[in-house]
Each structure stands twice: as C-alpha cells, then as structure tokens.
C-alpha cells in the first residue's frame, strides 16, 4: 500500500482528499501546514504528497523547497492541489520540484488521472 501525506489547512479539504485517496488504496496521513508536513516527512517519507499552496506558518512552496533538501526528500512525488491557477504559480511549483499540479476545484476523476500520470496508480 502506498502512502500519501495530505497537506491542507482546511479540514474539509483534507477529509474529501482522504476519502478519495483511501478509495484509491492509499494509506493517508495529514498535516495542516507546511511545518507539520516537514516534521511528518522527517519522521518518515511518504510515497506521495498532495499539497495546498496557501497555509499559515509555512506555505506549500516553502515546504516543497525544504522537502527537496532533506535526505531522501527527492523521493516523494509531490502533487500541488491549489486555487492558485495562474501560469506563474504553476511554473514556480514545477521549478521547485513539484511533479504535477491540480487546480482546485478538484474531484476524484482529476486526482485519479493526475496520480496515474505520475505513476502512483
């Protein structure tokens, strides 16, 4: 079973994502901001990270840059999932090492399609 860390400050989004990812047979864990996500990754690298952009304490892009610097931090496949849908944000995310990018609103079809594209399914 593959693992996915869901990083979003909205409890509702985390719940929706958890339901979708559990149906896709992922073992999920959650973080409410980038710092919690860094701590979680230091304790154990997930196979995948579903990542929001705007969060308190530490943003998604800051987390991604931190993650890629950690030992083994190049391994997790990172899929952004955010309302930031302009080309500049997408470009910035890819340059920082994101593997895919979902523009909110999302549904299970989109998550499934994007996760298959990056070889997680």
């Amino acid at each position: 079973m593959k693992s996915c860390l869901i990083v979003d400050d909205s409890k509702v989004i985390r719940m929706v994502a958890k339901k979708i990812l559990t149906d896709l047979e992922f073992e999920t864990s959650e973080a409410a901001d980038g710092q919690q996500a860094v701590d979680s990754c230091k304790a154990g690298m997930p196979d995948a990270v579903l990542l929001d952009w705007n969060m308190p304490v530490m943003s998604g892009i800051e987390f991604l840059r931190e993650l890629r610097k950690l030992p083994g931090g190049d391994k997790p496949i990172v899929v952004f999932c955010t309302t930031e849908n302009d080309i500049e944000h997408i470009q910035e995310a890819i340059e920082a090492g994101a593997n895919e990018y979902i523009m909110k609103p999302f549904d299970s079809d989109i998550i499934q399609a994007k996760f298959s594209q990056v070889g997680l399914l």
Binding site: N85, D86, I87, I90, Q91, I94, E100, Y101, I102, M103, F106, D109, I110, A113, K114, S116, Q117
Partner: protein, 277 residues
C-alpha cells in the same frame, strides 16, 4: 419514454449515423436530448420525438443526431495508445518515410479535439527532427457544433486537468482568463472537417495512421465490418489503425491483425513482413 418512440429513435439514429441504440444506452437519451428539447421549448423526450416525426425539419434532425453521437473526450485518453504512437509508430514513420518526408494521420471521430491535439503535441515534441517534413492530422466528426469548438483549441480548466500532464500545459498552452488556449502551431497541424464514417471515404486520401477509438462500440457487426474495410482501403500498406481498449478487428474483419506488443494497434495483414518492423 414511450417504447414506440424509443424504437423510432433507434431506427432514425441507425440510418443517420450508424449508431445502434441498445437499451443499455437509454440513459444517454435523457442527458443528451433534454438540452435539445429545452432549446426548442419542448417539455419531454416523447414530445421531442413527436416533433421529429412530424416536422421533417432537417436542421432539427441533425441537431438530435449530433447530440446523441457526441463522445466524451480527454487529452491522452487511456495513455497507452499515445505512448505506443510516440515511442514506436512515429519513429518507424520517420525511419520509413525518410525519402519523401511526408505523413498523414486521421482521427476519425475527433469530438472536441483532445485526441488530434494530443497527437499534435507528440509530433511537436519531435519538431527538430521533423523540421523539413510535411505532415497533417485530419480530424473529422459527425457533429458541426463539436467541430466548431474543436477548431478553436480553447479548453476549460476542467478539460485541461483530464489527462494532460502539467508540463505540456505549460509548454503548449496559453492562459486565457478562466481557460487555456492551445498555441497556434499545435492547432495549425490539425485540419478539421465534417465527415460521416458511413460516407465515401476515398475522398480523404491515404493515411499512415488512423485513430478510430471508441467509435466501433456504437455500431452493429455489419457496420463495424464496413467501417474497418473502409479504413483498410485508405491506409498505406504499412499503416496502423488504433482502436479503443474494448474494441478489436478479430471476428469482424480479416483484413487486420494486432500489432504484437502494442495493445489497441492493428495493421493490414497483407502488409509486407519486412515493413512490419
């Protein structure tokens, strides 16, 4: 819906487009035809069929046919056929056509354009290698409305998220408000044209690759055979036809055989083995 109306609609669609309306496709009727009914101020499907029977209005008849035959379309739908195309078939073409440096591809039911544009992007990935080549993707469909949308090359945020890798979105699209427009050089490779698969096919010319995916499933065996034979007649001897994941030529048309190791791809059997690669 009245059973006699269902049967009437079935016969009407079969004659018009070859579409076989089996009872399990009944769910399509409501989702596809209610919007048409509403546009004409008609309240129910039964009344819509009544109007179709009585009016003899050709535009109305075309509108109903188009609404029923339009398929859902995704970029790089099912993945594999497109990787087979870019990793195996296209390199073969580049190798074999190095003398005249020309090739043509036909998407026979292109819907809103995602399939031909996916191929267009894959070809553009090899732009440098193909700099002195002439190539064309002919994309045809039975729906005028759909062709009009396809030609624009504008897609909603939702459409761009289904099957399109983000790097390709960055490389080949330009953001336009809430949606995304394909870049002109990707659009320009594709030529859109109205064409009914049951019409005279010879006028289209010859093709090296034909995409006819998720089309045959709507036809009965006799029509499937006719369409496959027609495709065989416009395919180059070493050409390839791609069918949908649940479709096959086996037991329908003996002119084709599966390409080993390439699920969904078929070649003419009379194809010279030395060309089969």
């Amino acid at each position: 819906m009245d059973q006699r109306n269902f049967e009437f609609l079935g016969k009407f669609l079969k004659a018009r487009s070859g579409l076989v309306l089996t009872p399990d496709k009944g769910y399509l009727i409501e989702t596809r035809l209610l919007p048409v009914a509403r546009r004409h101020g008609i309240d129910t499907i039964d009344n819509l069929i009544k109007r179709l029977k009585e009016s003899g209005d050709e535009i109305f008849a075309v509108e109903i046919t188009e609404a029923m035959t339009t398929n859902e379309s995704l970029f790089f739908r099912d993945g594999t056929p497109f990787s087979i195309f870019s990793e195996k078939i296209l390199p073969e073409i580049i190798n074999r056509r190095s003398n005249n440096k020309k090739f043509r591809i036909w998407c026979s039911a292109c819907s809103t354009g995602q399939e031909p544009y996916s191929l267009s992007m894959l070809i553009s990935d090899k732009k440098n290698e193909l700099s002195s080549w002439q190539y064309e993707i002919l994309a045809t469909d039975i729906s005028h409305d759909i062709l009009k949308k396809a030609k624009k090359g504008s897609f909603s945020q939702l459409e761009t998220q289904r099957g399109l890798p983000i790097e390709r979105l960055l490389k080949y699209f330009t953001q336009n408000g809430e949606g995304w427009d394909l870049n002109k050089d990707i659009i320009d490779i594709v030529k859109f044209k109205y064409f009914n698969l049951l019409d005279d096919i010879k006028s289209l010319g010859k093709f090296d690759v034909v995409f006819c995916r998720n089309v045959l499933i709507y036809f009965d065996v006799e029509t499937k055979k006719r369409v496959l034979e027609n495709i065989g007649s416009i395919l180059t001897p070493d050409g390839v036809v791609f069918l949908g994941g649940s479709e096959s030529t086996i037991g329908i048309c003996d002119d084709f055989a599966p390409v080993p190791g390439s699920h969904g791809a078929y070649r003419l059997v009379k194809c010279d083995d030395s060309l089969a690669g």
